[in-house]
């Protein structure tokens, strides 16, 4: 609870005004839908949040919950490189530093990419071009946005590699991605993302492909760099453990929507959504016995084409029958404030949830 004050203004109540917000990044009612042969895939279906500079937002959810689609949406990568007849349908607003991106000129957004907002991808081996050296790729990233000669750019690349903790950066700069270890590759990826001092850094599952010891190093690195550069950071993960120490605020996604969000401590220690409970239960912890460590959420993620009516989580929710009149299966719950700057979308009564949490869930964790 001591860190609560830190979270400050990271998350505010969703607003419906379309005027420029004061927050550094504000996403309003973002919808990303993909038409397919089987129907419309509603990957993100009405998502709103805000993020200030120097703060870190963790977006948590299972695969297919829409977290990566959200990040690509912010980067404008659903419209860039969309060929053929089927294009992603995006609506809502994304405000970055006072500019709305969805309605902006795509080339303007392109120029923001890599400079104002950068991204770290999950698997650095596949996310780095196998045919170019690390140096070439960083140099390229730098020179898109800076009119400098190759030499200068190369110096910058070496400097960045050094900064992210790659030994002998002046030599390693000429190595190819396959010549790096997994952790080093991710460091290089981070170096490439930060080469233009972006104000917004999105890390999409930055540690999933790495082994546990390296994971911690990378997370430390991201935290240090954030402090140094003062950027706003979004960390996307399915693993609460990753964001536990890193994030100021947390946003839990399920079926393309936000089901709970609030300051990290709140969401961690006073979660108010059964899905968040499930996530906490499935979180690996070093201080627990092997056998009981993992209590996965039962069932499988919802179809994004035929999202269950009512609460999208209802087929998997052990408490779905508690509220009256079958309301969990007919009415979609809206986000409601459950505490200070803490929202959750659930039909269960406030007290009911507090009781279940303290009596049934928390003791098992």
């Amino acid at each position: 609870m001591t860190e609560l004050s830190k979270s400050g203004t990271a998350v505010n109540e969703p607003t419906s005004t379309s005027s420029a917000p004061s927050a550094f990044l504000e996403v309003r009612d973002l919808k990303v839908h993909f038409p397919t042969d089987d129907g419309l895939v509603k990957s993100v279906d009405g998502l709103s949040f805000q993020l200030e500079k120097g703060k870190t937002l963790g977006i948590v959810g299972e695969s297919g919950s829409g977290k990566s689609v959200t990040s690509l949406g912010i980067m404008g990568l659903h419209t860039a490189g969309q060929y053929g007849k089927r294009k992603a349908q995006i609506s809502g607003e994304i405000w970055l530093n006072g500019t709305e991106l969805l309605g902006a000129d795509p080339d303007y957004v392109r120029k923001l990419r890599g400079r104002e907002m950068a991204m770290i991808f999950q698997d650095p081996l596949s996310a780095l071009h196998p045919y170019y050296t690390i140096g070439q790729q960083i140099v390229e990233a730098y020179r898109i946005h800076h009119d400098v000669d190759k030499k200068t750019a190369r110096r910058r690349a070496i400097e960045m590699l050094d900064r992210v903790g790659i030994p002998q950066p002046d030599k390693r700069v000429d190595n190819y991605p396959h010549e790096f270890s997994g952790g080093m590759r991710q460091r290089a990826m981070i170096a490439m993302s930060l080469v233009n001092n972006p104000e917004l850094l999105i890390a999409d599952e930055p540690t999933t492909a790495l082994d546990v010891t390296v994971q911690a190093q990378i997370l430390d690195l991201i935290r240090d760099l954030q402090k140094e550069f003062g950027s706003a950071v979004i960390v996307i993960t399915h693993d609460l453990g990753v964001v536990a120490e890193l994030a100021d605020d947390l946003l839990v996604m399920y079926g393309g929507r936000c089901v709970e969000r609030g300051p990290a401590e709140k969401v961690f220690y006073e979660p108010r959504h059964p899905y968040t409970w499930g996530l906490l239960g499935s979180m690996p912890r070093l201080d627990r016995d092997q056998q009981e460590r993992l209590i996965p959420v039962k069932g499988s993620p919802p179809s994004l084409i035929n999202v269950p009516s009512g609460c999208a989580f209802n087929p998997r929710c052990p408490y779905a029958d508690l509220p009256k009149d079958n309301v969990t299966r007919t009415v979609r719950p809206e986000l409601a404030e459950v505490g200070s700057r803490h929202w959750a979308a659930c039909h269960l009564g406030k007290e009911q949830r507090e009781r279940i949490w303290t009596e049934e869930i928390a003791p098992k964790l």
Partner: protein, 332 residues
């Protein structure tokens, strides 16, 4: 990289020796086992015993097999002398045999015919690379659209229509019908414009077939590459779309195309028999066709060897280019 190169070169050299031995075996040993007298097949209508004996002597057919192979090998490096019946023929190194049908050494025939075939193959390759790859990339970028479907139907036609048909058709229209071009081969050294005029139809005909294949493979590869994470990374860096496609995606797409190109060029250099015969281009393909008809064994052996060499060489080049394009290859 150097080690890789040396390894490849060594492998190629070993292959070369094996190829020469196999080719020699096929053409000189197998007929012998099958009971065909090569010497007789060299002589004309009235198989005069003296004539048969003369050829036998010149070819050294009465010496043991290993001696014949050795003579052949030696000939390649130091030249060879055929003698018999008071006549001596010197075949200068590199001697790839001597055609007793047309009374000329095989090597000059090959070097005479090779530029025609090379010109045909390279010219057509440029055309089909430019058009095939461009069409493939466009199709990939516009997948599912009318353009994509149309291009793929044309590509299917290109792949399925035989060269003979498209060749005859284009000749009938442009050479015999419209008289736009004189369908007569003109050597490059005689007249560049004449050569160009004579080669344009064969190029287009040949390129049509291959462009179709290349368009299909380019489209498929490009679609696959566009789904790669590193393409997303390239966009996330803020690269312009043309750079993403033209640089990042193309470099990866080139790998399978290059492999195909190496194989195709190698095979074509061995003789685009149908194209050369349809357009009457005096290349290796026609040489081997005529040689088969005239049972001119040494020419057949020579062209087969050259073809194998061309394929071998093309593969070597592809291997090296591969290493240039894909750094991961250099390790293996």
């Amino acid at each position: 990289m150097l080690a890789y190169l040396i390894r490849r070169l060594f492998a190629a050299a070993v292959m070369l020796v094996v190829i020469i031995m196999v080719v020699f075996g096929i053409f000189f040993l197998v007929p012998k086992w099958a009971g065909v007298d090569i010497a007789t097949s060299f002589v004309g209508k009235q198989a005069d015993p003296a004539a048969v004996e003369g050829v036998r002597q010149k070819l050294g057919l009465d010496t043991p097999i290993y001696a014949q192979v050795w003579e052949f090998f030696k000939g390649i490096f130091v030249g060879r002398t055929y003698s018999g019946g008071g006549d001596t023929i010197h075949c200068a190194a590199p001697c790839f045999g001597y055609s007793f049908r047309s009374e000329q050494a095989v090597w000059p025939v090959l070097t005479d015919r090779f530029p025609v075939t090379l010109g045909l193959a390279l010219g057509a390759a440029v055309l089909w690379l430019v058009f095939g790859v461009a069409a493939g990339v466009l199709s990939a970028l516009k997948r599912g659209t009318l353009w994509d479907r149309g291009a793929m139907v044309v590509a299917l036609a290109g792949v399925s229509l035989p060269i003979y048909f498209t060749g005859m058709l284009s000749l009938a229209i442009f050479a015999f019908g419209l008289h736009w071009i004189d369908a007569q081969y003109v050597p490059l050294e005689d007249s560049f414009s004449g050569w160009l005029g004579a080669m344009i139809l064969p190029w287009i005909t040949l390129a049509f077939l291959y462009a179709a294949m290349y368009a299909r493979i380019t489209r498929a590869t490009m679609l696959e590459i566009l789904g790669e994470d590193y393409i997303r990374t390239a966009r996330a860096k803020g690269l312009k779309e043309q750079t993403v496609i033209g640089k990042h995606a193309m470099r990866s797409t080139m790998t399978p195309i290059l492999t195909m190109l190496g194989m195709d060029l190698g095979a074509l250099i061995g003789g685009a028999i149908l194209t050369e015969s349809t357009f009457n281009l005096p290349g290796l393909g026609r040489a081997v066709l005529d040689a088969i008809r005239n049972q001119d064994l040494p020419i057949i052996v020579g062209v087969t060897l050259i073809t194998s060499l061309a394929v071998l060489f093309a593969n070597l080049v592809v291997d090296i280019l591969y290493a240039v394009i894909d750094p991961r290859v250099r390790l293996t």
